[in-house]
């Protein structure tokens, strides 16, 4: 693969028609087939958009997922989805409950991967919510041990990763936003993610965000994946100094777009971030990405941000004579 590839973290905003359709479907006013048709349409739109602006490694945009943990929970035996709990302010989510032995009864996201991959010549990422995050974001009424539960998730998610690979995924991403929650459990993260990625031929990526990176830095090189996808722009690029002193032995996807800001970054601002990344990482081992999933932005904001990112990457590549 060539240098400075562009990609995204996974989710894109759902267009208005899909948001409305989801509400109707939840009330029973729209059939699952009717909803599926609109999810297909939204997914196709996002694939087309990524192709049009020239993103190198695509995602399916997760138009069919509500919450990233709940989506997998709904598709595993041994889990139920609870009532609403608060995340912050006026935001709530349905936290899964593990009520019995976890078991994957069949492929979860594979069909969507195939749907997206069939519509582009470029690689589409297979997307898995990581075992540590699934554990940390679920209530446990069955296993009684955080490690045992994380490993049970890892077993099911490894099966999913295998199936994604068999369906043609060349890049598989494991999302672990909870990674930095408890420093004393980093060995569990390593063990559980390792159980998911073990024996995979595909390039493996681990994504995390919004944590105290300084405290977990010493674990970065131990994470059993080929590439780390890190939020960098929201952290004010503080981490770069540390990478200078303690080099990363893996590839990095460098977050250059703040997904929590409504403001669309200018091409110039993104170029400066990429230049900073290039001052530390080898272009062959550096991908360019937003900080996190873009689903909380409006469609227009997300598209604007992606355009800035791709344009800035092109400009930097030209300046540096990178093919």
């Amino acid at each position: 693969m060539s240098a400075l590839l562009t990609s995204t973290v996974g989710s894109f905003p759902k267009p208005d028609y899909l948001l409305k359709a989801r509400t109707r479907a939840a009330k029973g006013d729209l059939t699952p087939e009717g909803l599926r048709e609109l999810e297909d349409r939204a997914t196709l739109d996002w694939i087309t958009f990524q192709e049009d602006i020239g993103i190198d490694v695509l995602v399916d945009g997760e138009q069919y997922r509500g919450d990233m943990a709940t989506y997998f929970a709904e598709n595993l035996d041994g889990m139920v989805v609870s009532g609403l709990v608060r995340s912050y302010g006026n935001r709530y989510y349905k936290k899964p409950i593990v009520v019995g032995e976890l078991r994957r009864t069949g492929p979860i996201s594979v069909e969507w991967f195939k749907f997206a991959q069939a519509r582009t010549q470029k690689h589409v990422k297979g997307m898995i919510t990581g075992p540590y995050t699934m554990m940390d974001w679920s209530f446990d009424e069955h296993y009684g041990s955080r490690e045992a539960l994380a490993m049970a998730f890892a077993k099911a998610l490894h099966e999913e990763a295998r199936d994604l690979e068999a369906a043609g995924a060349k890049v598989i991403q494991v999302d672990e936003p909870a990674l930095a929650t408890r420093q004393d459990e980093l060995p569990i993260v390593v063990k559980a993610v390792g159980a998911v990625t073990k024996g995979l031929e595909a390039k493996t990526i681990l994504h995390t965000c919004y944590g105290n990176y300084d405290a977990i830095f010493h674990y970065f090189n131990r994470l059993p994946v080929d590439q780390l996808l890190l939020e960098m722009s929201n952290s004010g690029l503080d981490l770069l100094e540390r990478f200078k002193r303690e080099p990363l032995k893996k590839e990095i996807s460098f977050g250059v777009i703040d997904v929590h800001s409504h403001v669309v970054e200018t091409e110039e601002a993104v170029r400066m971030r990429i230049e900073k990344a290039l001052s530390i990482f080898h272009p062959q081992k550096l991908w360019i990405s937003p900080d996190c999933g873009l689903k909380t932005r409006s469609v227009e904001e997300a598209q604007g941000k992606m355009r800035s990112m791709v344009a800035a990457t092109r400009a930097v590549k030209k300046d540096h004579g990178i093919a």
Binding site: S82, G83, L84, V85, R86, S87, Y88, G89, N90, Y92, K95, I97, D136, W137, F139, D140, E141, A178, T181, R182, Y210, G211, H260
Partner: protein, 325 residues
């Protein structure tokens, strides 16, 4: 028999249409469809619901559920002079977030913080309503300080402001005051600072019963010193702080404890009989009649129906403890 209480927050929405009125009202306010005063009415309705659910479950000392709190930090900080509220930061090791207070100049109390909310809650409750304050050391530790340059000075300033608030709460009629210092479960070396910051509050509390509550972990290594802190009652998380339980069982306590023994961070229901018998094991080292049984921390980490279930378990265990004597 052992008393019953809660630690603070209560799920402000549930799964039924009626239980989601606050969520809808905030959405409407954001869209400009209702006024602040309309929202206040809905908040008060939910405060009444939260109190009713606690009382119906059999809780003796209740709270207003901290229904109006955006989060544990910014709710208090935004009403103090010298502080602005900034972006979201993860709250300890939970999957919840708080808006981070940023301290830009000298901190002081510019007016009542919780008095109005407490007064309303007390007016609609037939049980005592405990006023809950986030502790000065936890507030200082989770804030971003751009003025004092050291956390201790900030904690002292916050302590002075909160002591004024405690005096105002007591003047308004509060008989139960609780100060939360979860930071102490993360870093025992803060013990000295917690003591220093608690002193002005203890001096201001008058005849009210002052509880210091530490949750999200254990205080086993500093247990004896925690007991000596200037508070009438010490609240302990005995779930995540299972190690503290062993200390309590071994060394007892010379002051009343709140035994946070019902897991408020997991939906798995405890067996009330098992819980009662475990607590009964402490009667040789504790005056259980002076102690409280409670959840391990606020109930807001649970869905509303599970929170109700946990309160019922708690009350059942307390009743079983009474019956057995």
């Amino acid at each position: 028999m052992v008393h019953t209480t809660v630690v603070g927050n209560y799920p402000r929405i549930g799964d039924s249409h009626d239980e989601q009125k606050l969520r809808r009202a905030i959405g409407k306010l954001d869209r400009g469809e209702i006024t602040e005063s309309d929202l206040r009415d809905v908040e008060r309705e939910v405060v009444r619901d939260a109190i009713r659910e606690q009382v119906e479950a059999g809780i003796e000392v209740v709270t207003d559920g901290q229904v109006t709190w955006y989060d544990s930090q910014s709710h208090i900080a935004r009403r103090l002079a010298g502080i602005e509220i900034d972006g979201l930061v993860r709250y300890f090791n939970t999957n919840t977030y708080y808006r981070q207070p940023v301290v830009g100049s000298e901190v002081s109390r510019r007016g009542p913080i919780l008095v109005d909310e407490w007064t309303y809650a007390a007016s609609v409750s037939r049980r005592p309503v405990k006023a809950i304050l986030t502790g000065p050391v936890t507030l200082a530790s989770l804030a971003k300080d751009q003025h004092y340059g050291d956390r201790k000075s900030l904690a002292r300033a916050l302590s002075r402001a909160l002591a004024e608030e405690v005096a105002a709460l007591v003047k308004a009629g509060a008989t139960h005051i609780q100060v939360d210092e979860p930071i102490l479960a993360r870093d025992g070396s803060d013990l000295g600072l917690v003591r220093e910051a608690l002193e002005p509050i203890a001096a201001a509390k008058g005849p009210a019963e002052l509880t210091l509550f530490v949750y999200f972990g254990d205080v086993a290594k500093i247990y004896k010193d925690v007991l000596k802190l200037p508070a009438d009652v010490i609240g302990l998380d005995l779930v995540e702080g299972a190690k503290t339980w062993a200390k309590v069982a071994k060394e007892g306590a010379d002051k009343p404890l709140v035994l946070g023994a019902v897991d408020a961070r997991n939906t798995k229901p405890e067996d009330p009989k098992g819980l009662a018998s475990k607590v009964r094991g402490l009667r040789k080292v504790l005056d259980l009649d002076a102690c409280y049984l409670s959840p391990s921390n606020g109930l807001e980490f649970l869905p509303r129906d599970k929170a109700r279930e946990k309160l019922a378990i708690l009350a059942k265990a307390a009743a079983l403890l009474g019956d057995a004597r």
